[in-house]
């Protein structure tokens, strides 16, 4: 039986760009699917097809068991959509926004009013309920947008990059709301550029690139493919490289790698922050002076490098091209060698705004 969100062979082209190039999805009821990919990968286009906003060139899809192409209006009754750019009317108050959306979901005026009050309370917007949304902070607007998507507590939710541009505190708060939502039985499809977010929220992850799903699995499965986390140490003087390497190999789960000119030693590990503390104690105990030490978790780029041999690039991204070359060299070497390249390089390549989402 197909899941609460099901898609088969979705294709959508915009001019020469194949925004979706044969995407299959199957999200069991009550679970969360994370669509992970860089800007322009086709994530937003997939959401727009599934929420009836655009028609695919070919393929089929159903949401909550209803055919998206044949019965779009019925699908709209069963879904909530929270967008990348908070779609609230900035000249309406928070309360007016929610009441309007409720009425357009065909609730009675009275029900819509009551529901708006409930949601404003729940989303910590009660004090600001009668102020126009223009005066809200970014986090408040995002909460209002999410509240608008939840007016009818739809069984299936779509969130397009829900936390992009939010500060860590607001991101954490939004994550908690999403977890509560899923605990209540909602099926969720969320798109994100952050592996950490997908890791935190999603049961299953689909990695998309150039309109195709290039990998799918749980976050552990994906991380296993990308080498997981690693410890990176920069020692004070060159003679400490060898002893530091010996210490790290003792903690490591794979081959260590050494970059002499930067005095950097890297090794894949598992065990997180606790392990990092042990490494520091051990290095200190042996009198090895360090300039820098960090626990690196795989980023979206690491996932991409290991899956595709190139960084999370866009069609226009020249920097991503060079980063991709470095990444290819990394994967052909020892595990974790990718970490010896400057990790900020690929990260810059996926800076939001540097590229355009295909459908926007």
């Amino acid at each position: 039986m197909p899941g609460a969100i099901y898609a088969e062979g979705l294709v959508k082209t915009f001019g020469d760009v194949r925004a979706l190039d044969g995407v299959d999805l199957d999200v069991p009821e009550g679970t969360v699917l994370g669509l992970l990919g860089p800007n322009g990968a086709g994530k937003t286009t997939a959401v727009r097809v599934l929420t009836t906003l655009i028609k695919p060139d070919s393929g089929s899809a159903s949401v909550a068991g209803i055919d998206v192409l044949r019965k779009p209006d019925e699908v709209r009754r069963s879904i909530g959509l929270s967008g990348q750019f908070a779609a609230v009317d900035e000249y309406l108050t928070g309360r007016e926004n929610l009441r309007m959306v409720g009425q357009l979901y065909q609730m009675s005026a009275r029900d819509a009013k009551a529901r708006a009050g409930e949601l404003l309370e729940r989303f910590d917007l009660a004090d600001a309920a009668d102020r126009i949304a223009k005066t809200y902070s970014g986090g408040m607007r995002r909460r209002l947008d999410l509240a608008a998507a939840l007016v009818v507590s739809p069984p299936v939710m779509f969130m397009d990059e829900p936390t992009t541009g939010l500060d860590p505190r607001n991101r954490q708060a939004l994550w908690e709301v999403i977890q509560e939502l899923v605990a209540g039985g909602t099926t969720l499809l969320l798109t994100t550029q952050y592996l950490e977010e997908a890791d935190h929220l999603a049961h299953d992850i689909c990695v998309v690139d150039h309109g195709r799903v290039i990998a799918r699995g749980t976050s552990d499965q994906l991380k296993a493919r990308t080498g997981g986390e690693r410890v990176e140490v920069v020692v004070r003087s060159p003679e400490h490289i060898a002893p530091a390497d010996a210490v790290l190999r003792g903690f490591g789960k794979g081959t260590s790698s050494v970059e002499k000119h930067t005095r950097r030693v890297t090794v894949p590990v598992s065990g997180g922050a606790k392990l990092l503390a042990e490494v520091i104690r051990e290095l200190d105990g042996r009198g090895i002076e360090i300039d820098d030490i960090a626990l690196r978790r795989p980023t979206l780029d690491d996932v991409f490098i290991s899956l595709t041999g190139h960084a999370a690039e866009s069609d226009a991204g020249e920097t991503a091209g060079t980063a991709g070359t470095a990444g290819t060299a990394g994967t052909t070497g020892t595990t974790g060698a990718a970490g010896t390249t400057d990790t900020t390089g690929p990260a810059e390549a996926e800076e939001p705004g540097a590229q355009q989402e295909v459908s926007s």
Binding site: R48, A86, Y105
Partner: protein
């Protein structure tokens, strides 16, 4: 029960509306939203008022003494003649507002929000055009008062005058659907504003609104006489009793039957552009 959980209970409580009832209800919800916006951004309404008032004053006093209508060079005769033209120009300039508003909604992602809701498909646009109609009506009231102050009068009774205003509003409503289509077709509110205005200048000037068409070159005169805009201006003039004595009524059918011509034109424009705009809305992508 958790506020954000339990989807099944909520979804079941949804009432299912269909057809016309839903269309009307959703349109009114959206119209209310747009009217609230107008109150919160009064600058738009105020600037919308200043422009036609300036036109009334400038045309009356600057051109008034130099333009003869029906052989009559009395500035007051021109003032009577002019008002229907200014009223008609004012209602059509509201199209730019509709276009800019809709382009802005597209730009901000609100159209996506609306399109993902189980609401009547045409309601977002109908709500917008209805709100614009209310704004246009208010503008006309203020403008009529200013016109009376500078000496404009009606001569055919209140009922006929109201009929004249009704035709003007219908024309404005029809044009706001053209504005809606423009707003859906351009990428930014700025483009919608300028794109919504430029074509209005030839439309309103190649007409009988500010000067009689009979002194124009033949081609322009024919365009002016068949211009939907001219039909409404002529109809309003007739219903206000503002046609000066000795003013020759052109032989073209719309000028001979301006009330019918005005009605037919406006209804045709609504049917055509509403169809096009709603179709565009269904496939709209920001």
């Amino acid at each position: 029960m958790s506020v954000i959980g339990s989807p099944a209970s909520r979804a079941a409580a949804l009432r299912v509306h269909g057809g016309i009832g839903r269309s009307v209800r959703d349109s009114l919800v959206v119209a209310k939203r747009n009217l609230i916006r107008m109150i919160r951004i009064p600058e738009v309404v105020i600037f919308g008022l200043i422009q036609p008032i300036m036109f009334v004053v400038l045309f009356s006093y600057v051109f008034g003494g130099s333009i003869a209508v029906g052989g009559n060079t009395d500035p007051n005769a021109y003032r009577q003649f002019l008002m229907a033209g200014i009223f008609a120009q004012t209602v059509t300039f509201a199209t730019a507002g509709a276009g800019a508003g809709i382009a802005d909604d597209m730009h901000k992602g609100l159209i996506d929000r609306f399109r993902s809701l189980p609401m009547a498909r045409g309601a977002v646009l109908t709500g917008r055009t209805l709100a614009d109609l209310v704004q246009t009506a208010l503008t006309l009231v203020v403008l009529a008062i200013v016109a009376v102050i500078v000496g404009w009068r009606i001569h055919e009774g209140v009922l006929k005058a109201l009929g004249g205003f009704a035709l003007l509003l219908l024309l404005g409503y029809a044009f706001s659907w053209i504005g809606a289509l423009i707003g859906l077709s351009v990428r930014t509110p700025e483009a919608a504003t300028s794109g919504g205005l430029i074509w209005l200048f030839p439309l309103t000037f190649i007409s009988n609104a500010f000067v009689p068409a009979d002194n124009m070159p033949t081609v322009l005169r024919t365009i002016a006489e068949w211009n939907p805009f001219s039909a409404t201006v002529q109809a309003a003039r007739q219903l206000f009793g503002n046609l000066p004595e000795g003013y020759p009524v052109p032989a073209a059918w719309p000028m001979q039957h301006p009330v019918w011509a005005s009605l037919i034109w406006s209804v045709l424009i609504i049917v055509l552009f509403r169809t096009l705009a709603v179709r565009k809305f269904r496939s709209a992508t920001a």
